[in-house]
């Protein structure tokens, strides 16, 4: 899922008991779909607010219910969360219920005064999206000046003393600038840097040229490992998002301390996603039509969480949903196809994920690689998916055009 940074914060870490009891430890909550950026990779196609977004009172009741279920961290997102007028009230309510509150932002027009007010209301950390150096970031985010604003927000956090992190989308052209971007992030005082592959959903399906090809993991993973080591020397922790994996030679590097390897998608077992209109999901990024588990206005969250079929698919850790390469993989029982969002959005069905380092390396030993080709556009709806074909082909000889 598109979970934000602060992954190594102890309260968010999922324990064995959390897994057995299905405690919704971590909630990502889209509090509005309104947004002041126009990102060409946006899975939710954010821009305008939803027709029936939850009221302030309804939101506070959601916080109360989540606290009763044992939630330990809520990350508010959008759209752009601070576009919602009562966002500080919600930050305070989350904090007052004993839940860590973090926020993910593009940072555009988020003033220093607003950041100070959020910190005063109990915001624990701010994650800022930076998707490349200025030209690439501004192009992807669709607003000129958005890069400068994002970096300025990081600097403001450092000056105020608020923990900041950076989230970076791995798109097809970002790799050559990741090292320089890391320098910017370190200079701006961020503590965590989370990277995740751009997923074929919403606007990213319309702009499929920005998607990484699965076989490009052979270049990306060693690069990230090198950056991880260099970042650690300068007090920046590079964190892999849920769709960075799996079981390649670097997992032990970036998933320790902790389990040391990817333990499977937590959606619906230890994670909840909430849409601004009250739709509950196991992960905020999953396609609403397949994974929407009802409206919190109509049914108590505890009842949806316990009973709704759309939230159950990860809890018994079965492998019956797996197919393709993942079905026969040695790590099937642990990994279970990696990030549900990534696989489901790409191929219309969870359980077969070509964005896997172990898979790419295994296929390479056989002289094979996989690439994706769009065969169907995504509807103009939030969290809409298109359809991609997975092409298996011989690895071109060195020097030949890919």
């Amino acid at each position: 899922m598109a979970e934000p940074a602060l992954d190594d914060a102890p309260r968010r870490r999922v324990s064995l008991r959390d897994q057995l009891d299905c405690v919704p430890v971590y909630v990502v909550w889209e509090i509005t779909l309104a947004c002041n950026l126009k990102c060409i990779h946006c899975g939710s196609r954010a821009g305008h607010r939803r027709a029936k977004e939850l009221s302030t009172a309804e939101c506070i009741d959601v916080v109360r219910q989540l606290a009763e279920l044992g939630t330990r961290e809520i990350s508010i997102i959008g759209g752009e969360a601070f576009v919602r007028r009562d966002w500080l009230t919600l930050v305070r309510a989350i904090h007052d219920h004993g839940i860590d509150c973090t926020m993910q932002t593009g940072g555009y027009k988020l003033s220093r005064e607003m950041i100070e007010a959020a910190a005063g209301a109990g915001l624990l950390g701010l994650g800022v999206s930076v998707d490349g150096l200025k030209p690439l970031h501004d192009r992807l985010r669709g607003v000129s000046g958005s890069y400068d604003e994002a970096v300025r927000v990081l600097n403001d956090c450092r000056d105020i003393g608020l923990i900041s992190s950076v989230n970076t989308q791995i798109t097809s052209t970002v790799m050559p600038e990741l090292a320089a971007l890391m320098d910017v992030i370190i200079d701006a005082g961020a503590k965590y840097w989370q990277v995740q592959l751009t997923v074929a959903m919403g606007n990213a399906v319309d702009h499929d040229e920005i998607l990484l090809q699965p076989y490009e993991l052979t270049t990306l993973m060693p690069l990230l490992a090198d950056l991880h080591r260099r970042a650690a020397e300068r007090n920046l922790t590079l964190l892999p998002g849920n769709n960075i994996g799996y079981f390649g030679p670097y997992d032990v590097l970036w998933r320790s301390p902790g389990r040391g390897y990817y333990g499977g998608c937590p959606a619906g077992q230890n994670a909840i996603g909430l849409e601004a209109d009250g739709t509950l999901k196991g992960c905020p990024s999953l396609a609403t039509e397949r994974y929407g588990a009802g409206d919190v206005r109509d049914t108590p969250i505890a009842e949806l969480w316990a009973n709704h079929p759309a939230l159950q698919f990860n809890r018994n850790r079965g492998v019956e949903d797996l197919w393709g390469f993942c079905r026969g993989c040695y790590y099937a029982e642990v990994c279970r196809g990696g990030c549900t969002w990534t696989a489901d959005s790409l191929l219309g069905r969870r359980g077969n994920n070509p964005y896997c380092h172990h898979r790419v390396l295994t296929l390479a030993e056989r002289g094979i690689r996989e690439r994706i080709v769009k065969v169907e556009d995504a509807p103009a709806l939030p969290f809409a998916t298109g359809r991609f074909a997975l092409i298996e082909e011989p690895i071109p000889l060195e020097g030949a055009d890919a």
Binding site: D21, E303, R317
Partner: protein, 71 residues
């Protein structure tokens, strides 16, 4: 939806993996012959010993033991 009875949900935990001490790839806990390299996964190689994996694995196993005690 079902009736209003709310039974506490129950899940299963992820299986435990450890590093093969020969090729340093993950294998299931208790594995003797590594499915990746075909060697004895318990026998420590120089690579495993000298590149810090021993310390990492020790740290991970302490964490797992603490987890099991808590649960």
């Amino acid at each position: 939806m079902s009736d209003n009875t709310v039974q506490p949900p129950q899940g299963r935990a992820a299986p435990v993996l450890i590093l093969c001490r020969q090729c340093v790839q993950y294998v299931f806990e208790g594995t003797v012959t590594c499915p990746h390299c075909g060697r004895d996964a318990r026998e420590m190689s120089a690579r495993y010993r000298d590149r810090g994996y021993l310390a990492i694995e020790a740290m991970l196993s302490i964490e797992r033991a603490a987890e099991r005690r808590r649960s």
